[in-house]
Symmetry: C2
Subunit: 493 residues, 2 copies
Amino acid sequence: MADSEALPSLAGDPVAVEALLRAVFGVVVDEAIQKGTNASQKVCEWKEPEELKQLLDLELRSQGESQEQILERCRAVIRYSVKTGHPRFFNQLFSGLDPHALAGRIITESLNTSQYTYEIAPVFVLMEEEVLRKLRALVGWSSGDGIFCPGGSISNMYAVNLARYQRYPDCKQRGLRTLPPLALFTSKECHYSIQKGAAFLGLGTDSVRVVKADERGKMVPEDLERQIGMAEAEGAVPFLVSATSGTTVLGAFDPLEAIADVCQRHGLWLHVDAAWGGSVLLSQTHRHLLDGIQRADSVAWNPHKLLAAGLQCSALLLQDTSNLLKRCHGSQASYLFQQDKFYDVALDTGDKVVQCGRRVDCLKLWLMWKAQGDQGLERRIDQAFALARYLVEEIKKREGLELVMEPEFVNVCFWFVPPSLRGKQDSPDYHERLSKVAPMLKERMVKEGSMMIGYQPHGTRGNFFRVVVANPALTCADMDFLLNELERLGQDL
Amino acid sequence: MADSEALPSLAGDPVAVEALLRAVFGVVVDEAIQKGTNASQKVCEWKEPEELKQLLDLELRSQGESQEQILERCRAVIRYSVKTGHPRFFNQLFSGLDPHALAGRIITESLNTSQYTYEIAPVFVLMEEEVLRKLRALVGWSSGDGIFCPGGSISNMYAVNLARYQRYPDCKQRGLRTLPPLALFTSKECHYSIQKGAAFLGLGTDSVRVVKADERGKMVPEDLERQIGMAEAEGAVPFLVSATSGTTVLGAFDPLEAIADVCQRHGLWLHVDAAWGGSVLLSQTHRHLLDGIQRADSVAWNPHKLLAAGLQCSALLLQDTSNLLKRCHGSQASYLFQQDKFYDVALDTGDKVVQCGRRVDCLKLWLMWKAQGDQGLERRIDQAFALARYLVEEIKKREGLELVMEPEFVNVCFWFVPPSLRGKQDSPDYHERLSKVAPMLKERMVKEGSMMIGYQPHGTRGNFFRVVVANPALTCADMDFLLNELERLGQDL
């Protein structure tokens, strides 16, 4: 027999619920937001994994804990987490804390709904449509379709799946076995999700034909043409080209007009992975980097990166107006997408996706956009470009810093050459020794908590730093700090 | 040239940021949390789509808006959203608002990191491991692997992809074309994501062999055996069975022991889609419904459903200890998963997934679990069962309510037979007329905002209601209200 009272938890006690949430929110504001974005605080508080396990006391036990203990746990989680909103976090393709976007995320969490039907997400069904419309307009499309996906990798997979379905609608039912071998094309600088997606979708990584990139990391359209010919000669059927606007390491933009010409000639689906670079479309000054994107069939664009909307906010945009997304992914589950509803069931967009429950990812972007306007967001992009340029010029002025190349985006790639290696470019172990510098400095900066910068090898080049200038709160002083700090950390090397 | 000052946005002004967030948080507490869970308030505020568009003024414009306007927008978004934490929201397989889980979600959003490496998510890499360990222990495994996925549909896809990769590791590189036709088996009551997944993964929906379910919605193991034989006779290679613990509509639990016996005999991967029913493992009283789950190779379990952890929280659990997840999905991107780091790179779990950026989904569950303990969560499950039982007994007592079947879980399925149809079971249009009742009542309850209950047709049965008893704040009074309200809304039909 059931109790007639609600469970003895906070859920039945509005006063206690409010007190808990206000206390947690206080901790969040003080620790994560104020300290977490304050340059005089550490960007991270490094602990070895074993020590951190002890500090966090992660084990889940039979007995629950007191309010006071829970608040202490909240503090510890924040204390030992990396502060990605901090002005010294240059480590990833996202950085910074936009307060309006965060407000949107908090509201999203408090409403806790799923984006499948108008019935249970009326505001967000309409809002997603409007946000996607706005993004499409920036691409250059007055109509089309789209959806928010859980990240750019899955947006890219959607594009591949849609392209093969459009060409071979039977594959939804009959699978790939009945099809000829398919080939898709992308450059060697593309994001690794193209390979992962090909494997996951059953095409296999062999179906990905890797096109050459030039010394700046841009796809070479002539080699694309050549690769298409080679694939056909081997009996494969080319069906898609994935171009990249803003590559992960170098920040390169593929020449979309020339690639679109090739696609048009061969009747191939053009997907543009603009997860990183898409936000440049907001800048009148810089959007020429994506010239030709309006000729794409699909575009992946992650506002959680350069626009700092918050993880995750990843749009897949389509030029298609034939309901391809729903035809390709739909399964008309009768318990969810009833056809005898009292409103227009075309608003039940959940059958466009391969997920069932789907998070609301539009509100954070919408609210930030309402607060900033196109103009505010454009200034943000232009400022990021300007600060990246400032950083490049400062790098050129200093001894011991060597640019990998002149960037065209906000990825600034360079080597820190420590005093002991300066002027030794001709010694046989120079490159080997230089390659060890970035990992060593990375260890030092993380253990001090002074800043975080990513590094990687790339092609034949040994490890170099990649500074991502994305945080909207950055100033020239932060760029100066970054270089000074590298010099300080590396002066004895 | 870059400005030496940060952009003129709130990002550079900690006082303004704090003021904004405190104001938004106040709105959230008042409108979404207090009113949103108060039974005397509406569960939804229905508006026709065109009217709602006007009310929300969704358009994104060139100019940004004032703080005051932004706060008004926050209020409107909450006002017109469905309150899924409300005690009269019975519409979905999630309901209720757990304050600790919400606290975990707010902290997650404020830290805004991605779950790929120990470097940028040290706390959450360790925490995810611990939470997965706990979930595996409840399944009955002392070792294994796992990962949080963006929803149960993708967890199910992972299982299918892992099973085919384990059998044919070549398919990652070479794709499905080189393989024999594959067959996977699931019951006709399974979730629609199995079909969607088969299409997305390139297998095609034809590869899904639909096994009979008995009158209670449970897979018939004898028919599974028969279907396996038929598939083999047709030249297909069986590789996976997906059993369901807690079907979507009826809440049925497939007989896992008998199914595991079949899988063992035929050497098939056993996946259990326990997205809905997995949380029953916490109850000593009811966990027998999943007897045999420890024999599975993989389990999908969504704590965002019955445990109210918040969307999304979906774990894929594996018995595998051979690093299958990483071998199947990994691509060793050198810019992210550098091998020359200063800590154990086995902690960089991001290469286990097909996503790149991946949200932190463990904290909300961990924090709630710390606060409730196993015991608190167990009481919650037991209470849900008890309240569902109470509802069933009340349904039996009342005229005009007819159970579809005795439930074994917290899905309570029944028809409301309106006064004009009572005693007319033998009239030729009875079923047709009865089938129109649920959609009509649904429209009425939504337009009044008094409650939300899902309905659907099912097999040869016409539309019936499915009440999901999941919200931990529910009491018997809410069950009484539900039935009284149905009678009130349908008295003139």
